[in-house]
Assembly symmetry: C4
Homo-oligomer: 198 residues x 4
């Protein structure tokens, strides 16, 4: 099985998810800037989700470069990840429309957590197919970010009960942490190509 | 004619169908978890349709790997399949919004049946072009799943008259049956590449 | 300039247009089959537009196989075609929602006519770039279908004033005429590859 | 990192943005041509935004042909551009629905300005990675259009306060200016391929 079509399908789904979210920004009927005010929380939610989806696309892109064989397990692990990501426009809309109400912020964290777990499963299934000596396994190393993210999401979910700003702060923190590009895989790829040319 | 653009177009349409369905999950105005309750049937329908579309994408992917020439007949058989699949978001929404009412569950089965027939026609047109000795014909063999699915859908459609849970059970059963990846084509592909390298 | 990205973009836009149309099939609130009745004209319009867009994709696919160089003119002629095609979901929805009222059927014909002219311009700009001796120019030959379609659309547009069924009949007729795959380009391509191998 | 997937993702997002805009053209309930009249400003806004997005796709296409390495910085600069472009359907809808009210026309200009700045940042990050002697740097030369556009947008934004027609005129002017295809990069590419073949 070729990985080209898996990438193309994933790109398509992510491109649509990221763009469809903007439909939650419903065009207001009023014509003044004040009529945009109620949209501010939706807009802020949109920015956060846009960044999260961009991070997922970016990391997915890096991860698939290390893939040589696509098995049925990898394919379904990928579909499972896309399922949770496809729910992001819904929770983004709900969180925005209710001005960051506690239940919506909590649900947002649950979807982020579920997506993180789905990503981890996909990573595992790729490593299992390609072996511990494979590129991805080496690149991940201790995988600090991957391990710490679900912990943060859980803190966010619990925090949403106490004060939504705790959750909001944690979600932004994780996004910022991931925004720093993943040098590990890039490094490993470069080293491999070095070894080959030597 | 190249099959690359046929795959790309099919991927695009399937990616959009699978993602557009989430728009049926209308963001509720209330801010409590209870306000999500009426969405539960829509969400369950969404999961089922997501799995069905993922199965179609997966099987389509496998099937097209065996294709060497794309004729006008194959192209239109593919369009015909996409037409029925494009109606899945509509029936998913109707089934979910009416809390699995008998007519909606029945119509859902009819669309599944029509898509299954369209897939079978596409399969036939590929085999006809490539010959009985071709890869796909060998891979399918007795094609148990393909033959049994329409029977199950018909049972589901009739069952929806008596009790919607019969239909629901049958639809889930067929999905589970297909979720087991199609080893037949993978096997046939491997064997062919073996013969070539020998 | 490579034609790959032009094809990819066109495929993307056409895939979205064809799928977004289904959103005009608004999920009814009632749970009986009778609640679907008002959707019948929308559904019929959907089928017709689906076929038209599939024909455009198919013909576009064939035409671009003959393209060797993509110039700015070709690129913008392609965008111009996509613009008119992007209005098809709107006119389909209007025609369906008003149960084939005379103005909507007329506007539908105007959009079909505009798209046909845009397609013709695209064809001209490709032939101009590649020369009269080029593949596409030869393949088109007298281009019967291409010349007769705008005439039929005009008949449809005028007919919509008198009786919408005249227009409806003409639109279906043109679609059926195009459904017969375009053997001309396929033939010309085969002949060229023959000459090359000789 | 390969640029193929970056192009594919960008194409996908732009194709969706350009097509989703048409959903702002809400199908009217009336069946006469007069019922379309209130849609005229939305339609005009749609045409303008369609042209702008087509220009961005076109220029992006040209620019990426000069790219040899995709770094994390380039990738995120590209995401940043897509973010601003993804807001175009929203401002298009708002501007159209309020019949070109002053605040909406102003906001439209701000989004255009933000997208222009994002494009400039992307350009910078590509040149930084590939060096001043690289193809893009040479092709851009003095980059008249790129430098003059933000100035015009600013005039449009300020003009929207005084009279929306000033802004409208300026926005159309910039679009027309860009519609003239960018010969610079095409030229530079041709020269490079000449040098190589010599």
């Amino acid at each position: 099985m070729t990985k080209g079509r898996l990438e193309a399908f994933t790109d398509g789904v992510l491109a649509i998810i990221i763009t469809i979210m903007v439909l939650e920004l419903k065009v207001p009927h009023g014509e003044n800037f004040e009529d945009l005010k109620p949209l501010l929380p939706v807009f802020l939610s949109y920015i956060l989700s846009f960044i999260y989806l961009a991070i997922y696309w970016n990391n997915h892109h890096h991860m698939l470069q290390t893939v040589k064989r696509v098995t049925g397990t990898i394919l379904w692990a990928n579909m499972h990840l896309l399922f949770w990501l496809s729910l992001i426009p819904f929770v983004t809309g709900w969180m925005g429309e209710n001005h960051f109400s506690s239940p919506a912020v909590l649900l947002y964290g649950i979807i982020l957590l579920a997506a993180a777990i789905a990503y981890w499963i996909l990573q595992r299934s790729i490593i299992k197919e390609h072996g511990k000596e494979a590129l991805l396994a080496k690149a991940l190393g201790r995988d600090f970010k991957g391990k710490v993210s679900p912990v943060f999401y859980t803190i966010g979910i619990i925090g949403a009960y106490i004060n939504v700003w705790i959750a909001g702060f944690v979600y932004v923190l994780v996004a910022v942490m991931w925004l720093i590009p993943d040098k590990r895989i890039e490094k490993a790829l470069k080293e491999e190509s070095k070894i080959k040319t030597e």
